[in-house]
Symmetry: C2
Subunit: 384 residues, 2 copies
DNA sequence: AATCAACTCTGTAACGTTTCAAGGATGGGT
DNA sequence: ACCCATCCTTGAAACGTTACAGAGTTGATT
């Protein structure tokens, strides 16, 4: 017996020691582990007993080395502290678990360097595939990964060249919904808060805002763009301060924030300056995270199907990983939905919206579900 | 040349192919990868060129198999959707990254079964160590892991038998602070909302509440305990409804919730029922997540040093993983701090508390930092 | 010349699995 | 008695990496 003998006390045991203890060959132990039905009952029991007594635990590295693939997928997001991404992550996890895969969750924190490091790490780990919300145009890295054989699915992002699958929500439409609503409320001077513009989500939402303005016979110049360096609460507070400090005649009467964290930050700043929301300034957020409804002034927001986004992305990835060669890339696009609450509407909303867990059919909203023309296989996912 | 030759196009390349292309032995390639300084400059360059041309990526499984250990640590938390845990996770990640380790983040979602599965998975991956916030008394599993040689550090939890390192915050004290504050505000009928009681965090906070009551000459019977099945927003709403529906004479005038998610849920429920907070009922939360300050009524909460908790835990783990044999287990205990905001105080607070990112020196609070008697090496971490 | 040290490089043996062709047993049918 | 099928089990060959003992080269020193 190599290493320390018997008992549970010893450190790591190998399959070989189990074999020795049970008086069989290593091949048989492996069979007990992987295809127990082909080994005789008595032997199986003997081996299982040995496994239990030794406290044997498979070495996943060795399995993977042999298999050439790991039983893991990677998920690389922009910000784990943002509830949008944790909800998305849970969707991914649910789906992956059903296929017996583990998820390695990585946080690029908006940094290209971190993103690159994590992609490398995931590739070294030979993950089955990678779900990524790219920091900027990470096209080159992603393409290289794919050429080397790692499937990649873009999450909350769209594939321009159709070179990979992607799952996203129509951010331009989201921006339109938000601004159309504000225009309808009578606002004329509107600020767009968000950044960095290199994030597609941010620029798309701004583009949607512009489009809505133009549809109402106004121009892009009517949108006061306040670019932030990041999408968290602190940046929102800062942006709020910048807005608040504008001379009264130039100050917008409404802010459309690129995500809820910014909106919550802006809201905090306004409250602390005793600027009333929505009376003095209206605020609309984006994502409709759970905390939006619980905010100081319940937040109007553009809802995205986060959990489903994650599930759909994982599904596409698994499909590609299993199909192998003849895989047809697909772009799944979900539709966002406007949820109106107090922060943008002077008139009282009909019902206490924030009392229901999942408000639906709110005026101004559109039915959820993927946009026309998108994939239908997964599309039904969008409509509960 | 085995497999597809040359170019970046081919799939996965091994060190052997790099060696062939560069006209050296595999050993040399390995040296270029791991100790480039011992190989002659010209050879090194040739090898590096080959690596680049082939798009070679190390196989981490093979490295790990050879090394017997992976370059990864596991972090198993109760709820990734809870900002408390994501903030903690970022602390862990920061610390791990500095040592070149990756973090596998797992979510037990309060389920013993999931917890067990993930522990097994992490052990199979031969992680350097595991940081865990146990669901219940997971003592047995943890002990087994340790006997087999995987270091384990309990996070936000305390080691009873001193069999492992642990990092926690004094939850009993936290409970005391909360209730002492409510008593001082004149509340006499106080509800404690939280569950399941099998979570040590929950029962400790309740015990602290009881202790504060007793210190004020009252008894445990004065605490109306409302046990919830989980610690998320929905459970908080439910609990809020239960409280709201009590006959007026039996309804408490204050609720102390075991975490902020519950508190936010309770707050939403009250608001939607037009029950005024804090006038009709005061609410105190726990954790002081970023969203607490931005709530409908800014939430009084017991703050925990989340990021530092994560860093400290990772530090202890790495220490144990490297020290190997002669490691002395340590229990690091931080102190919580009460942050008073509108949800519990009828009198206006002195300053617009929710305007500052990190309110300090709030009346009723105590200085942060580890409690006396705890480790000092890491202890200083607690005081910025 | 012979010896030595300093430098590079090579070849091979692990690491712990899984897979698979081939090798026993066993027992039923002829 | 022989052959075959069936059922289990075995042993060895991968998988890609690293570590290490040893083999060549050089160039300087005796």
């Amino acid at each position: 017996m190599p290493k320390s003998a018997g008992g549970e006390g010893g450190l790591q045991h190998s399959i070989r020691e189990v074999a020795a203890k049970a008086g069989v060959s290593v091949g048989t132990v492996s069979n007990v582990l992987n295809r127990p039905e082909i080994v005789a009952e008595s032997t199986r029991r003997r081996v299982q007993a040995a496994i239990r007594q030794l406290g044997f635990v498979r070495n996943e590295s060795a399995r993977q080395l042999r298999a050439g693939k790991s039983r893991t997928i990677g998920l690389l997001v922009l910000d784990v502290a943002n509830p949008f991404f944790t909800d998305l992550a849970r969707g991914v996890e649910d789906e992956a678990n059903e296929s017996g895969l583990a998820v390695i969750l990585c946080n690029s924190a908006d940094q290209v360097a971190k993103e690159r490091r994590y992609l490398e790490l995931l590739e070294e780990h030979r993950v089955q595939g990678i779900l990524i919300t790219p920091v900027a145009a990470a096209d080159e890295h992603v393409a290289r990964l794919q050429r080397r054989g790692t499937p990649v699915v873009l999450v909350d992002s769209r594939s321009l060249n159709r070179g990979q699958c992607s799952v996203s929500v129509d951010d331009v439409l989201g921006g339109e919904l938000a601004i159309a609503h504000l225009l309808e409320q009578g606002h004329r001077k509107i600020a767009f808060v968000g950044g960095p513009m290199s994030l597609r989500q941010v620029s798309d939402r701004r583009d949607g805002a512009v489009r809505a303005l133009e549809a109402a016979g106004r121009t892009a110049a009517d949108l006061h763009v306040i670019e932030t360096t990041a999408l968290h609460v602190a940046a929102g507070r800062e942006a709020g301060a910048r807005v608040a400090e504008l001379p009264a005649d130039r100050r917008p009467t409404a802010m459309f924030c690129a995500n809820d964290l910014l909106a919550l930050g802006a809201l905090q700043e306004m409250t602390s300056r005793r600027i009333r929301v929505p009376d003095s300034i209206a605020i609309v957020g984006y994502d409709d995270i759970d905390f939006a409804a619980a905010a100081a002034v319940p937040l109007t927001s553009v809802r995205q199907p986060r959990h489903q986004l994650g599930r759909a992305a994982a599904q596409l990835l698994l499909e590609e990983a299993l199909d192998g060669g003849n895989h047809q890339h697909r772009q799944v696009i979900f539709e966002p939905e406007l949820v109106i609450r107090d922060s943008s509407s002077t008139r009282p909303v009909e019902a206490p919206v924030f009392g229901t867990p999942h408000p639906r059919g709110v005026p101004g909203g559109r039915p959820p579900g993927p946009a026309p023309g998108s994939e239908t296989g997964l599309a039904t996912e969008g409509v509960p």
